[in-house]
């Protein structure tokens, strides 16, 4: 497996860099770096429906909320549970689950919720689907705000342990990239892209269109749930506003900036849109021009959409080894042998 060597080298480099950052950065920057890992998880996973099957979902934050609340309830220390969550069933009241397991459980619950949701909303496509997933976000927000016995409504769940280290957030980022990459560049990925290009023709070519879209949606929801748990245990609290529209749109922006349909593009988009706002905020404080950072980012995004709508990477991938995706359309038209006359 020659291809594995550059990937392994990359992983080693990542570990070294993270260790270095862990030792040298202050807690503020460590937090931001951790957030970067979480955003990579979220953006790369959102790429499955939005970038690859062409189902533009705006419901990512809803699945984050499901995973985040689920994991939070599971990891909350017994003392806090006795104080805050008195109405839980006793078996839940008396169990504390280790963070990694709670995170997986959060992801699984989000995936489980995505099944019936997907069966309904994936009957739609395009704008209708986007609107329906906003509806999902509103419903989940409503539940989080009103289901007092589990979520404590608008007060939320506080007093969580800060489990989300740099290692967890980037560990999950690597897992997400790996899984999504394997899905995207496989028969499953070809099916996804064929659906994005032309769903009817895909069906005529034997692609199980609905099932493929549903699976992409569910896997995406799983990692959203994981991301929700990671975020909860970084902030050490969850409230309905932790998983608001803002989060959905931030992740959408990361996805679009990176290039929908490119896994490495998603990573790049997440990194840039985590780092640039922070740098700009530092700069605006230095220059004493508070508020300008937001404007600059908004302006840059508009310009970006005008001049490079396909995002930084388009649907191409940055690869450590091997070739880039399909060769571009225009240069060197394929040899059309039928042009050469063979008979009179």
């Amino acid at each position: 497996m020659r291809r594995a060597i550059p990937v392994l080298a990359g992983l080693v480099l990542l570990v070294a860099l993270l260790a270095l950052a862990d030792m040298s950065l202050n807690s503020y920057y460590l937090r931001i770096l951790g957030l970067m890992g979480i955003y990579i998880v979220l953006t790369v996973s959102l790429n499955l429906p939005n970038g690859f099957t062409g189902d533009f979902s705006l419901g990512h934050a809803a699945f984050m909320a499901v995973g985040g609340y689920c994991a939070a309830v599971l990891t909350m220390p017994l003392v806090s549970k006795e104080l805050l969550l008195t109405e839980l069933p006793t078996w839940l009241q008396e169990t504390v689950v280790p963070f990694p397991i709670a995170t997986v459980a959060g992801g699984l619950l989000a995936a489980l919720v995505a099944l019936p949701v997907g069966l309904v909303v994936l009957r739609l496509r395009g704008h209708y689907l986007a609107v329906a997933t906003i509806g999902l976000l509103i419903v989940v927000q409503g539940i989080a705000t009103n289901w007092d016995s589990v979520t404590r409504g608008a007060r939320g769940l506080s007093g969580l342990q800060p489990h989300t280290t740099l290692w967890w957030s980037f560990g999950w980022a690597v897992v997400t990239i790996f899984v999504v990459w394997r899905m995207a560049y496989s028969p499953f990925g070809r099916a996804m892209v064929s659906i994005r290009d032309d769903p009817l023709a895909a069906a005529c070519r034997g692609v199980r269109v609905f099932r493929t879209r549903l699976v992409a949606f569910i896997v995406s929801a799983f990692f959203a749930g994981v991301g929700g748990s990671l975020l909860a245990h970084q902030i050490t609290a969850v409230t309905p506003s932790t998983y608001s529209f803002d989060v959905t749109f931030l992740v959408i922006i990361m996805l679009v900036v990176g290039g929908m349909g490119s896994v490495t593009g998603s990573v790049i988009g997440a990194v840039i849109m985590t780092v640039v706002p922070v740098l700009l905020r530092d700069l605006e404080r230095e220059l004493d021009m508070v508020g300008t950072a937001q404007l600059v980012i908004a302006g840059a995004l508009i310009a970006f959409m005008i001049f490079r709508r396909q995002g930084l990477m388009g649907t191409r991938e940055f690869r450590l080894a091997g070739r880039f995706g399909p060769k571009a359309s225009s240069p060197s038209p394929a040899p059309d042998q039928s042009q050469t006359p063979t008979s009179s």
Partner: protein, 279 residues
């Protein structure tokens, strides 16, 4: 190469089985489709035996494409029944019909634009080679073996259709004739029993058209395919088809051997009157 292909590209269940009613592959009776007040197709009947090559001609808007759309499940029929391989498939979904052995090409080419040429073919080859998703993610040995086999078959098909040199190019970057051949490659990749070709020579120059004619004959014989062919090029269709149906205003107005069709007064009236000269 060609004779090995034959065994490779047929689906396993297709080999050696005989269907209940002798070798009848497709039975269509009373098929109709209305769009609002417009009757695009009415009372359409056909019986196709395995290995037949049926041509369908008719003026613009006659309902030829609608017939294919109804047969392949893109548009549900308003009336009538379709039996394929002895089973009722009336109103079945396109994916299901692809599975049981119907493959088509489109009049307005519909390859997957952002996939490479070879990946377009692989999408279709995957129909009979699906792997569980977890095996894909883990990358099991079986998965890798399957992928290698799919790759080889895709390369074979691309060679057959003279597309092998373009295999890594985006499908939408190909010249017109090559895009049409790619559609045929994808349709063949489904290992179909029945191949429906909707104006495969449209937009091709005379040389390309001639080559396509040879190609259709060749796959018809080598893959023992049954073919339904829509074509405006009268010479083309008269040369390669055993039997021809003429559609006009959604109805079959004549049916028979090429020689018979050529002389049929209703056909000359409806169709050949305008089109005979460009043959």
């Amino acid at each position: 190469m060609a004779s090995e292909d034959k065994s490779d590209l047929r689906s396993p269940e297709d080999r050696g089985t005989t269907h209940s009613s002798a070798d009848e592959l497709l039975h269509v009776a009373g098929l109709g489709r209305k769009f609002g007040g417009l009757t695009a197709l009415a009372d359409y009947d056909v019986d196709l035996r395995s290995g037949e090559l049926l041509g369908i001609i008719g003026p613009n808007g006659a309902g030829k494409t609608t017939l294919f759309n109804v047969l392949t499940g893109l548009v549900p029929p308003s009336s009538g029944e379709v039996r394929f391989c002895g089973k009722d498939q009336t109103g079945a979904a396109p994916q299901r019909l692809a599975e049981v052995g119907m493959a088509r090409t489109f009049q307005n080419i519909r390859n997957f634009a952002s996939l490479s040429v070879i990946d377009n073919v692989k999408v279709a080859l995957q129909l009979h080679e699906s792997v569980p998703l977890w095996q894909t993610i883990v990358g099991t040995r079986r998965y890798r073996a399957d992928q290698a086999r799919i790759h080889d078959r895709a390369v074979d098909l691309l060679e057959l259709l003279q597309l092998d040199q373009a295999r890594d190019h985006r499908a939408d970057g190909l010249p017109y004739g090559a895009q049409r051949r790619l559609e045929i490659a994808c349709a063949l990749a489904l290992s179909p029993k029945l191949l429906l070709l909707d104006e495969p020579a449209a937009g091709m120059n005379p040389t390309e058209t001639l080559e396509l004619m040879h190609l259709i004959r060749r796959v018809h014989e080598e893959f023992k395919l049954t073919i339904m062919l829509i074509e405006h090029n009268v010479h083309f269709i008269m040369t390669i088809c055993h039997r021809i149906q003429v559609l006009n205003y959604g109805r079959v107005i004549a049916e028979g051997e090429p020689a018979y069709i050529r002389k049929h007064p209703a056909v000359i009236e409806a169709y050949l009157g305008h089109g005979a000269s460009d043959a």
